[in-house]
């Protein structure tokens, strides 16, 4: 009788086994990291390099000359930079705030379980599903001074409509773009806030009622704090999205009249894809990236403070 000793698979190559086991998380996350590096880090770094060169595709396919910070200086001094920055900030801050407030109001109404709410809930998501370009065209017709529905409604209500049209007047054009964004994105807030409000247990609200809290107090001290995490994140996402708005502007006003609706996103598009000024647009991109990140970092710092995650 003889015995064969078979090494169990477990005992096979302990070194290799433990290497895989130890590094498994990194191996699994590696594809995502590679993709992120390729799609985000590389373009950003490429843009950073380009931003120090004079490079215009209308003149030649290659960067012509190293110019140091000249592109940055030019970007800050451009005729439209300050207007674009101001408009972008107005749109993103006001847009996010109003969409949040209206969305919250709608979410609270949805919670009331009134008859027909199921239909309303289903319809509500529709605007958000339409491509911004399509929404832009839609509103171009609605704002049309010669028979556009919104112009007609405003006139019928004896509200002043500029003779050059809502989109044609510097005093109303930016508000018109803001309105489009609110129209399209308020439902997004409504749906997300509604879903998170649903997760607030009824007993907690009942306990608050028995504690004599008013509806306003319950909203401010119970409901909002309990949905705070979701709210913080969607506000941040939406802020960043609006900050980069360019499609609705492109379709509705092309940044005009004058610079009254010009956004950073639109200026980037114009310099990069109309004027092909790659060096300059790279510098502008970096300026935008820095501004967004500073704002978001501050927001995250203050919003997430005192929060146990």
């Amino acid at each position: 009788m003889h015995t064969t000793i078979v090494r169990s698979p477990r005992a096979l190559g302990p070194a290799r086994k433990s290497f895989i086991r130890r590094n498994l998380p990194y191996l699994l996350i590696a594809p995502s990291v590679v993709m992120l590096l390729a799609l985000i880090a590389y373009p950003l770094l490429f843009a950073l390099r380009s931003s120090f060169y004079f490079w215009n595709l209308q003149i030649g396919p290659e960067p012509l000359q190293f110019v140091g910070f000249e592109n940055y200086v030019q970007a800050f001094n451009a005729f439209d930079f300050r207007a674009a920055l101001t408009n972008t900030l107005i749109l993103s801050i006001l847009g996010t705030a109003l969409e949040f407030i209206f969305g919250l109001a709608i979410a609270l109404i949805l919670l009331k379980a009134l008859p027909g709410m199921n239909v309303v809930r289903a319809l509500l998501i529709l605007p958000t599903t339409i491509a911004p370009i399509v929404v832009g065209f839609l509103f171009r017709y609605l704002y049309d001074p010669g028979g556009g529905l919104l112009s007609w409604v405003l006139q019928s209500l004896w509200l002043p409509v500029p003779a050059e049209g809502i989109l044609g007047s510097p005093s109303t054009a930016l508000a018109a773009i803001l309105f489009v964004d609110i129209w399209q994105w308020t439902p997004f807030f409504a749906i997300v806030l509604y879903a998170s409000l649903l997760a607030v247990p009824d007993e907690i609200l009942e306990a608050a009622r028995l504690d004599r809290a008013s509806a306003w107090t319950i909203l401010m001290r119970i409901k909002l704090p309990l949905i705070k995490r979701t709210a913080i994140i969607i506000v941040m996402l939406r802020f960043m999205q609006i900050f980069n708005t360019f499609d609705t502007v492109l379709v509705l006003t092309r940044g005009g009249p004058g610079t009254s609706t010009r956004t950073l996103g639109y200026s980037l598009y114009e310099q990069g894809l109309v004027n092909f000024n790659i060096g300059l647009v790279s510098a502008m991109t970096w300026i935008t990236v820095l501004i967004v990140n500073v704002i978001v970092a501050l927001y995250v710092f203050f919003a997430f403070r005192n929060e146990e995650w």
Partner: protein, 388 residues
Amino acid sequence: MASMTFDGIGKTFPDGTVAVANVSFSVADGEFVVLVGPSGCGKSTLLRMAAGLETLNSGRLLMDDADVTETEPQDRDIAMVFQNYALYPHMSVYDNMAFGLQQRKMPKDKIDKLVRDAAEMLDLTRYLERKPGALSGGQRQRVAMGRAIVRHPMAFLMDEPLSNLDAKLRVQMRGELKLLNQRLGVTTLYVTHDQVEAMTMGDRVAVLKPVFNGQESNLQQIDTPQMLYDKPTNLFVAGFIGSPAMNFVRVELTAEAGSLKAAVTGTKISFSIPAKATLSAYAGRQVIVGIRPEMFQVCPESEALFNEQVPVAEALGADTFVFFDIASPPVNINDAEDTEDFPNKGKNRLVARIPPALTPRPNQLLPLTVDLEKLHWFDPVTGTAIRD
């Protein structure tokens, strides 16, 4: 502090389900009343109606003789302890307790004193700065109690406050809650499905049962725990109160000279009892006899009323519960009405409580007799107790 009166309370949900019907009872000032019953008996609904969280379709609710039927929950000055505590998860223990006081626009120093006093009483002082998520179940339960008592409300409403605790903690908290109630003397309405909790805590206990139409009443009996045990008003209460539950046996009554002969349906077992006025009226008919497990006594074989094999015995240390079957149709206490022509088959499993020393070996015959004086008698149609 206040008295509370339920006057013909009824609640039907929009889909037609009758949750509560014809419930009337009063809770005296400072009294601890427990609502007990199986699931679906409407006990939680009644409590929520007392809180104002549920509207009622009929009847009135009085607090200190003032009609509060239409009063909003926030204007009732009652505190409720929820089954899952319903603590505000984002607030510290301190804020959880202070929240209700802040809504009353009470000065800060007064709130602070009340909260700290309550925390002291409940041994929560160390945890005041913690969030509920960082507390154990028992501690959360105490915070929920604290939130109720800081407000010094007119009444406490408690919805199965101990059911989320483990068995040992539950027994401990049961005692503490009872002590707390005695100390504070606040009118308390307490809901539970656990009859031990009901019996040990309540000054009086209201036994409820599910209803299926607006003519019945959920409320079967409201009385002191001892009275419920000794004099249950019907089959439902008799079967619900007591653990293990009361045994029910069908017997045929026949009148004999000066006595009544009761023959256990389907068996050869029979016994005689002295004729009593009300019970004599049932002569010639079937009635239901209720036997509490402790009414059985082990006896010599010659005196035995029951002498059956014991397939199962549960030794609890101090007592042993022995189970045995008799060839008599079982009694379903939940639908006493339609048991007249019960199919005469099946076995009726009875349980007796005996001293551990007398525990029989498996499948050994165990001769048992019953204290005939203490038997409970019930009408088989209505289920009500037959008493002189």
